[in-house]
Symmetry: C2
Subunit: 529 residues, 2 copies
């Protein structure tokens, strides 16, 4: 595919002449061809209007047609795996195998949502049949189910150039629910974004859907995104990125005359608690696991373990020594952008200059995007004096907090903000004794992990990738896994309508065979009259 460098507005290339920009190869610091052109405010408006127009038809497509569309995208992504991974490798410096795996994850994600939509029960259909003779008042026939919410704005993430970007999880779940999508591409990987965007665009055409179902916007800055999230035709937004960026979008969404749901997944330090038994029995193994997890993807995962609570006892020293050894001898990394690399360096230096912080840093690397792994260590008393030490550092670093008193550890856990995950490394017979810790963690996060590592987020039905503020904007939803579709739908109730005017999901005979709640009983049976 020859990259054109222009936005795709409802199936047509934009001819706007905005500011231009290029991707940079993080390994070499060299700019990459082609030049990309920022879209105009008019492009955003046109995309939003086309999405609203397309919504009328797309929101009424059958589940079968939407599943077919999602599978077209999946197949086209698979066919483009080599091209996507090669371009993404140039733009992100992430390893080829990881990027190929990411394409597969992305197409499988599309297929998962195709299955969910095809199975059909996700709409949560409910029927309360009429009770015409009820006293004092009759009950009318009431039937309700989830319907798509309207055009969705999706902001591509820097750290998953494929799976959380143009054709990623937000796009897949929004399209699956029946909503048109407008993606604002992340400017760090515009080429990967264009390839994925044209794959989606081609799938729209191949399936004969209205072109407004999908648009892709390029912008060197943040203007297009700001206009997009404030556009009256946009009804929800999804974002994965920094806290500052996410919060700015949330505020714009909340300040609208008609506030819209804005799902931002922002920052998380993913605390890990090592219990004494596990420390005693498998300290070396834990050191290897932790090091692998906090340096995976150059530490650029939203689930990177960034805080590790270690009890101060005889077995702590070997674990810490091994962690220091692994961190100090880590290979060098290239971070996604020069901005991320300099921010990593700045955050690290600010911490190492604090009193009571020890640091072990691997050999410095040359290059504007280069970074070296770092292990920071602090005593729990100093940690508790500096609440900002629990904030995320995006990159290959983690902070070990040593504690003597269990009570101090529990208080530090209680003082944590919201995170995506919390991990406990402990022996099964220790869990009862640490029930109080688990109780605290369950109130702080979206996923608790026992004897695993938080990186590696399964795309499945039971996954929850979310959590209380500031990890995300809304802990009631997940951005990964099949439950993510619920973000982009709302219930609608029909009262007193004949079948001919109702969606098939609500017909008496249950022609789609979905699970429904009929007069409070969940069943696949038809309505009995």
């Amino acid at each position: 595919m020859t990259l054109t460098g222009v936005s795709l507005i409802a199936g047509k290339p934009s001819s706007s002449k905005g500011a231009t920009f290029r991707a940079t190869n993080p390994q070499t610091g060299e700019p990459l061809d082609p030049e990309f052109t920022s879209c105009s405010a008019g492009d955003v408006d046109q995309a939003a209007r086309a999405a609203a127009e397309a919504f009328a038809a797309y929101s009424r497509t059958s589940a079968r047609d939407r599943a077919r569309f999602l599978r077209y995208i999946a197949d086209n992504l698979d066919a483009g795996v080599a091209e996507l991974a090669a371009r993404a490798q140039l733009e992100t410096a992430l390893p080829p195998a990881r990027l190929q795996g990411e394409v597969q994850r992305t197409s499988n994600q599309m297929r998962l949502f195709a299955e969910v939509v095809e199975e059909g029960s996700w709409v949560g259909a409910r029927i309360d049949t009429a009770l015409p003779d009820r006293k004092p008042l009759p009950r009318p026939d009431l039937r309700s189910m989830l319907r798509p919410i309207g055009p969705v704005a999706v902001f591509g993430a820097s750290n998953f150039p494929i799976a959380f970007s143009v054709a990623g999880g937000d796009t897949a779940s929004a399209l699956a629910a029946g909503n048109p999508v407008i993606v604002k591409a992340h400017p760090a990987h515009p080429g990967t974004s264009e390839i994925a965007g044209r794959i989606v665009q081609r799938s729209v055409e191949e399936c004969g859907l209205p072109p407004g179902v999908f648009s892709l916007l390029f912008d060197a800055g943040i203007e297009a995104g700001k206009i997009l999230v404030q556009h009256p035709e946009i009804k929800a937004a999804g974002f994965t990125g920094s806290h500052a960026g996410g919060r700015a979008l949330m505020d714009l969404a909340a300040q609208r005359p008609d506030p819209i749901p804005c799902f931002t997944e922002m920052s998380s330090t993913n605390p890990v608690f090592i219990l004494p038994g596990a420390l005693r029995d498998r300290g070396a193994q834990i050191a290897t696991g932790l090091h692998g997890s906090f340096t995976l993807g150059a530490g650029q995962f939203c689930t990177k373990p960034g805080l590790v609570f270690v009890p101060q006892q005889e077995h702590a020293d070997p674990l810490l020594a091994e962690l220091r050894r692994l961190a100090g001898s880590s290979a060098g990394f290239h971070l996604l952008t020069a901005g991320i690399a300099s921010s990593f360096q700045r955050e690290l230096e600010a911490r190492t200059q604090r009193p009571g912080i020890q640091s072990t840093v691997a050999e410095p690397q040359p290059g504007t995007c280069a970074a070296s792994a770092a292990l920071l260590e602090v005593d729990i008393n100093n940690f508790r004096k500096s609440p900002d030490l629990s904030r995320e550092i995006f990159g290959p670093a983690t902070l070990v907090i040593r504690y003597q008193q269990r009570e101090a550890m529990l208080e530090a856990a209680q003082a944590l903000e919201g995170h995506l995950t919390a991990t406990v490394l402990g022996n099964p017979d220790e869990l009862g004794e640490y029930r109080d810790l688990l109780d605290i963690l369950e109130r702080k996060v979206g996923r608790v992990i026992l004897n695993g590592y938080p990186t590696g987020v399964e795309v499945s039905h039971a996954m929850v990738h979310g959590g209380p503020s500031p990890a995300t904007s809304d802990a009631r939803f997940t951005s990964v896994g099949s439950r993510a579709i619920l973000r982009f739908a709302r219930p609608l109730c029909w009262q007193g309508f004949p079948e001919s005017a109702l969606p098939e999901e609500l017909h008496d005979s249950n022609p789609l065979g979905i699970l429904r709640m009929i007069n409070g009983q969940t069943t696949r049976d038809p309505v009995r009259s």
Copy 2:
């Protein structure tokens, strides 16, 4: 019960000496005993901290214990029906039969949520079993379900002194989900609020729950509510009332360092469309139905039909004549407060002075809370020139919009903001022809009604009482019916945990017999290993 006039803070009476206020009898304009005392900022803080403390235990109560608690409240409400209705009648001027019915509705609502909690499937449990041999990576065991969100602030509504107030739908659904509740009483019916509050408080004691599960705050002004919704321990809020009040709360909730979900149900004009066939066949019956609906409860329902689109044709004249006759000869009303009455009068006068508006107003009534029914009529061209004509007037008034061209009616429908409901009065054979109108309305509201009236909101499983902005803050949820519980819960995922550390809902054997999704299949079966 002797009213004390003080806030109930986690089971104890407040001793604060804030500004005092009294309820007013809308029928006589006389102040009612006793004097109520506004709570202090310290009271709010104490209630919120007690709620957070209680959350740890209350969020872990079994479904059976929570159901028992809700049924205690229901039984205690039923036992207090005479006292509640009598006091509410003094404070609201609503008819005794309506108020007795409202108590019943409120206790039945508690029992509905008791059933939902006891049945247990509402938590949406999902289990993805481990795949240790999967390549390239094994899948861990993942289990997730909804958990309570945290302490909830509830703001009592003026127009439902019992069913949407202290022990109303917000409180019932928040308690059912496992959250402590702090209610800010509506100052127009503090006596009714205290009776209901002490009923809940007694039920907390009788069930041996931590006292912080429930608090009730009185305030002459808005300060306590502002502090409450910004308190760090409060995790969600529910409100039913004016657009200005709701929007102010939404903004405070969104501006927090950790924004919280804030469910405000604000304003809705509930458009009604009369189709030509129905107009021809049953105009007189429709006139009676509409008049009954827009004057029910003195027009103080959030689902009051406030806009009626009538095609200009020979059958329109008899309908309009009959509507005018009914409106003009309506009995007088007493509105809930002097403020509501003066606002009603002001809104009405502002409209009747517009060019092209005809009005028919019943005989004026004496008294500061008095109001007379009003029928306004306008041509669709004038209506479309004044978008503010589609805003809610809270009280017994409605606006008829006459149109000649079907196209003009569709454009007006398309220009509507979000509402709770939209109603179509039409013959079954007309629905196909008006599919375009139905399509538009389904995108504008939470409930569409055929050949019924929007007032009368069934508390059932399929009900949706919600809708796009400005009707509510979040169209993805309903505040009435069993789905309302979903507002106050969030999913939590456990990865790799043994049964002993998991909630019963996620045990292999499915001891509670709930519906669960296991590896994508929904079933009541146990997990097969």
